[in-house]
Assembly symmetry: C2
Homo-oligomer: 125 residues x 2
DNA sequence: CCGGATCCGACAGGATACTG
DNA sequence: CAGTATCCTGTCGGATCCGG
């Protein structure tokens, strides 16, 4: 677990498991590349190079590192085909696909919040 | 906007506003202290020192910085009372209180994901 | 084609001391 | 009480080159 999201405390009267659950979710969607990677795999499973081209500016080092983390966290599955040259496919787990609901609420809140901020600015003008 | 969450791309067939909305939400809840601060203010408005004691291990430097960011982002309101000594109160905006729905879905996903991971480990054992 | 190894800058976050 | 100022460390992420 990353240090930066470890210390969530006292969010409402939530039991400790809730706090851990929120941190688990945050660890899966925060950082610069996690969501782009998940996003590009939502359509279909892809190979290393495909992901890299799809995302655009990510270096192989970062892509490799992020894929490894996502695999450890049960977000993607890595399949190696022993051909020559070697082929590796990455695919989302069902759990990862269920992230859609989280993103939906985040979109909803983001849009609503933006509206609210604009309205407040107009009032104070 | 932080660099680390700027490059979200191609998440599903989402229009660009959805991507921005997700980033807005992420900017409000990621980092080590944002959620603890919001959490402690969910009960009631508090003063600087109260927040600091409530959270526990945060330094005044970090607390000040985070509160400033949260204010800029329309998450909290800062009220200064010109008494001696000076009193400053921090309070959540309605928008911030609406974050509960986001946290709820994150909790739900986190719990479900954990279950799924455990189940998969048992199967492969 | 799929990465690993190495080096490097930028920045989040901590420790401590000090002001209005 | 409510912060600032300064310094320091660790982690994130980029660049480049190398290997199976």
């Amino acid at each position: 677990m990353k240090e930066s999201v470890r210390t969530l405390q006292k969010v409402k009267a939530c039991p400790i498991e809730y706090v851990l659950a929120v941190n688990d979710t945050l660890n899966v969607i925060s950082g610069k590349w996690k969501l782009p990677i998940i996003g590009t795999l939502l359509y279909e499973k892809k190979r290393f190079g495909e992901i890299q081209r799809n995302i655009g500016k990510i270096t192989p080092r970062m892509l490799s590192k992020e894929l490894k983390e996502l695999e450890i966290n049960g977000i993607i599955v890595r399949k190696v085909f022993d051909s020559v040259p070697v082929v590796v496919e990455y695919e989302l787990t069902p759990s990862a696909q269920a992230l859609g609901s989280v993103l939906d609420t985040m979109v909803a809140w983001g849009l609503q919040h933006r509206e609210q901020v604009i309205k407040n600015n107009q009032e104070s003008a």
